[in-house]
């Protein structure tokens, strides 16, 4: 399918561009055609594909789990309930292992993070051309189906987690306690500017690393899928080789998407645990 594009560079660029809706430079509203137009729309534009897939997958997750929750009984679980319970117990075990305080929010938060990120990552296993091809056939200029390759999505989650970290830090330790945690360690008190700088960087690094880790992994994985897909434009030998590669990379990717979802969940739990912990 790469043959439809002028060059492989254009093919890659096209696949890495979100479907952005916003105000064009001339004042009209509509979808951006190309990265430059999307950038020109500024902050008040929205990546429709990221949002649609993220919301759709989130609703799929909640729908499945809500169905299981409604029918959940203490009797012998079957089918969906069994699967859901397996995941819930896994998440519950992770929370119990890493989070040593009382907070009813953390476990559902961890479950949402895990399942949502997992499902968003799972979209990466769709062959890169299928849905964009359908989209371009129906007139949409771009379509990126993996929401977690959009930094807006990963930062949206990590910043929300960060807000929770700040909230619980202040709630559990008080504003003064939180400040002293940032300012009066690891060095003695009179070095508090150094402490503040160190701890401040550490604090800010949390949401940034959380978001960039997921984004980076998924973006790189998607990029490799796109590069492999380029081979399908060559001769049949290259196409067969590409198909094999794509299969191998997809299998490997099953591990990565699960691992990234797990890491995002675990770090969310750990950060919230740190926010609750009193330093002495």
């Amino acid at each position: 399918m790469a043959t439809e594009y002028a060059s492989s560079g254009e093919y890659i660029k096209h696949h890495l561009q979100n479907l952005t809706y916003g105000q064009h430079a001339d004042g009209t509203w509509g979808f951006a055609h190309g990265a430059a137009e999307a950038k020109a729309m500024g902050f008040w534009a929205i990546n429709v594909d990221s949002m649609a897939f993220a919301i759709g997958l989130g609703i799929l997750f909640l729908f499945l789990f809500r169905m299981a929750a409604k029918k959940a009984t203490a009797g012998v679980p079957s089918g969906l309930q069994n699967f859901v319970e397996w995941i819930v117990e896994f998440v519950d075990g992770s929370v119990r292992g890493s989070f040593s305080h009382q907070n009813a929010l953390v476990a559902p938060l961890a479950l949402t993070v895990f399942m949502w990120v997992f499902l968003m990552n799972l979209m990466d296993l769709f062959p890169v051309d299928w849905l964009p091809f359908v989209a371009s056939a129906s007139g949409l200029p771009h379509l990126k189906i993996v929401p977690s390759t959009d930094p807006n999505v990963t930062f949206g989650m990590s910043l929300s987690v960060f807000v929770l970290v700040l909230f619980y830090s202040v709630k559990m330790k008080g504003a003064g306690g939180f400040f002293s945690e940032l300012a009066f360690q690891p060095f003695p008190k009179f070095l508090f500017p150094v402490n503040l700088l160190l701890e401040g960087v550490g604090l800010i690094a949390k949401p940034i690393s959380l978001a960039l880790r997921l984004f980076g992994n998924m973006y790189a994985g998607e990029m490799i899928f796109i590069l492999i897909a380029l081979m399908f434009g060559g001769n049949w030998l290259l196409a067969v080789f590409g198909g094999t590669l794509q299969w191998a990379w997809a299998v490997f990717h099953i591990l990565i998407i699960t691992l990234q979802a797990f890491i995002f969940m675990t770090l969310t739990i750990v950060y919230l645990d740190m926010a609750h912990a009193e330093h002495h």
Binding site: G22, G42, A54, W116, N152
Partner: protein
């Protein structure tokens, strides 16, 4: 990296999903899991209790059996004792009856003998008198010597 309002949209969506999960998904599932955990624990405890009760019942049954056996043995011993006693009594009664009959027979014999002796004596007396009469044909008057004769008869 091109940041735009998706960031905000994603945050709001995330918060909503977490809220929904916390409100409608997590509690019922955890509830079911906890209830099942409790049921299993109860079931295991009940099984343990049942096993214990079975053990107790078996022990009690054994005790009962032993008691019954002891009782049966006692009854048997008593019966044997009673049988021996009855036999003993029967023997005694038979012996007594025999003795009695023996005594009666002896008494009878005695009586018969006495009677025989008496009649013998009478006959001897009569013979003696007859003899004496023959010897003393003339001198002896039966009437006058009747008391002498009866005295003689008594002495025989």
């Amino acid at each position: 990296m091109n940041f735009n309002a998706t960031l905000i949209g994603q945050s709001i969506t995330f918060i909503f999903f977490v809220w929904f999960c916390m409100k409608f998904v997590w509690p019922p599932i955890m509830n079911a899991l906890d209830t099942r955990k409790k049921q299993i624990a109860d079931g295991l405890a009940a099984a343990d209790r049942g096993k214990h009760e079975l053990e107790l019942a078996a022990r009690k049954a054994g005790d009962n059996m032993r008691d019954a056996k002891a009782q049966a043995a006692e009854v048997l011993a008593q019966a044997e004792k009673r049988a021996a006693q009855i036999i003993e009594e029967a023997k005694q009664a038979a012996k007594e009856e025999g003795d009695r009959q023996l005594a009666a027979a002896q008494a009878n014999i005695e009586q018969e003998a006495n009677r025989a002796r008496e009649s013998l004596r009478e006959q001897v007396a009569a013979l003696a008198v007859a003899g004496a009469e023959k010897i003393l044909r003339r001198e002896v008057n039966a009437q006058t010597h009747a008391d002498l004769l009866s005295q003689l008869k008594a002495e025989l």
